[in-house]
């Protein structure tokens, strides 16, 4: 038997931890081996020595010390809990603030996006420069260069912007007539003409109502040989025009002679509807109207000489007109 195993048996023997069989084995060993008996005695003495040590008494105030320590731990625990609660509250508050800030930011971004989607598209400024008050030192009215597109308008007044498209078999004759009328009634600075390669002439006039009326009266004869005359007039709605098909010179003059742009536009709309109905009628009376063979709806206010004085070309000051009208006349060879 190994020495370690014998020692464990001997230890079990002195500790009373052996089974009956082990106990018999140890008794046999110590009965026949004095060395094992001596080892057993040494173990017993060592155990006895330790067992002989006095039992030390715990401090008498141990229960109080334990209670004090428990109270201290409880207080510390409470403080720790309170600290955790305060810290937790602060943390929660911070998170709420962050959430609110994020929501505000999100709403702002959404508002910008929605505004960009639903906001009304600003009406692009047409080439109109509104001069609300003329400079004090300006004694003469502003003169528009022929190439200028801008028009001086009275305060709060919109500009009537009209285009007339004339289709004729003899454009040269019509152009000659229009040019003559322009020279007679409109300042050189207030009109220009462009002729394209396909012989289409575009006259651009920035003139007052009165002068335009005179001009229209002069070109009245040219309407007689037209195949077609169509008027386009801008409305206050962006990019929306009223189209007056088969317009007559009388209708044109009436539209231009209205007191203000709104009235002109409304009248143009009425004429557009009227002409459309007329074109559907048997006999296409509208062509008769263009040909000016039927009774005029409105007489053209052509000025009449009331004295024997010779007609004198009007000066710029004389032909000043409060309401400027932009009239574009397109003369084309056409159907």
């Amino acid at each position: 038997m190994k020495s370690e195993n014998i020692d464990e048996l001997l230890n079990g023997f002195i500790d009373g931890e052996l089974s009956p069989r082990q106990l018999t084995e140890v008794q046999r060993l110590i009965a026949h081996d004095t060395r094992i008996l001596e080892r057993l005695q040494r173990l017993q003495r060592g155990r006895m020595l330790l067992s002989s040590l006095p039992v030390e008494q715990a401090p008498a105030d141990m229960p109080d010390r334990v209670k004090t320590a428990l109270e201290k731990n409880t207080l510390l625990g409470q403080y720790a809990e309170q600290y955790k609660q305060i810290r937790g509250t602060r943390h929660l508050f911070g998170r709420k603030l962050a959430t609110i800030a994020a929501m505000i930011g999100l709403v702002a971004v959404l508002a910008v996006v929605v505004y960009n989607i639903i906001a009304p598209t600003p009406v692009p400024q047409k080439s109109v420069a509104v001069q609300t008050q003329p400079p004090a030192e300006m004694t003469a009215p502003p003169i528009l260069a022929a190439s200028e597109k801008s028009i001086v308008a009275a305060p709060g007044e919109t500009v009537l912007n009209t285009t007339i498209e004339l289709r004729t078999d003899s454009p040269n004759a019509v152009n000659a007539l229009i040019a003559n009328a322009l020279n007679e009634n409109i300042l050189q600075e207030q009109w220009q003409v462009e002729i394209s390669q396909d012989r289409k002439a575009t006259y651009t006039l920035n003139a007052g109502r009165e002068n335009l009326s005179l001009f229209l009266a002069d070109i009245q004869n040219s309407f007689r040989g037209l195949k077609n005359a169509t008027m386009y007039i801008d409305t206050e709605q962006f990019d929306e025009k009223i189209v007056v098909e088969n317009v007559t010179i009388n209708q044109l003059a009436e539209i231009i002679n209205q007191d203000n742009t709104q009235k002109s536009v409304k009248l143009a709309a009425d004429f557009a509807a009227l002409n459309k109905i007329s074109s559907a009628l048997p006999g296409k009376e509208v062509f008769a109207a263009i040909d000016n063979t039927s009774a005029d709806l409105i007489s053209i206010p052509k000025p009449v000489l009331t004295s024997g004085e010779k007609t004198v070309k009007k000066s710029a000051a004389q032909i000043r007109d409060d309401r400027k009208i932009r009239l574009t006349i397109v003369v084309a060879e056409g159907k």
Binding site: N11, D15, G46, M48, L53, V55, A58, M62, P63
Partner: protein, 201 residues
Amino acid sequence: MAGAPNINIDDDVLVQQCRQGDSAAMERLIYKYQNRIYNTILKMCANPDDAAELTQDTFVKVIENIDKFEGRSSFYTWAFRIGVNLTLNHCKRSSKVAFTSLETERKENNWRPKQILKEFLRNDASPDPAIVAQNKELCDLVQKALMKLDDTQRTVIVLRDIEGMNYAQITKVLELELGTVKSRLSRARNNLREIFEGFLR
């Protein structure tokens, strides 16, 4: 023990009362085990102040965790397990504990206790345990020898030979297998004997 209340009450009853917040039951548990736990811890760490502090910590931990006591072992072994673990951890932290070489021990002027120790360990003598208990110097010498054992061997020998636990209780306190306890105890006793013999050379 002056002022100690009647402690002949079953541990399970005291534990139950303690769980219900009965401070008197808590006191009774402390009174019942304070000396045994303190004595065991003191033999393990050899410092009265540390032993008192560790005993206090043991009871604080016992009471704070009394609801977790499941009763799979006895309250006695459960409380000792807490105390022993606290002490072993303390010993690990302060490994400075009283290490003195045998040579230093031989040079120390403690002739009288060594003589008593020699007589005690002689095979042909009839040792009187009372002599040991009455001789403080001899007790100190034995304590020094104990402190020369490593922590695990010292613990098992203290639990068996000083606290008087049986092997089964030691296995529960130290959470070891029975064979481990046996072998560790055997080695601890042999080593202690060698330490004593070293003192006497």
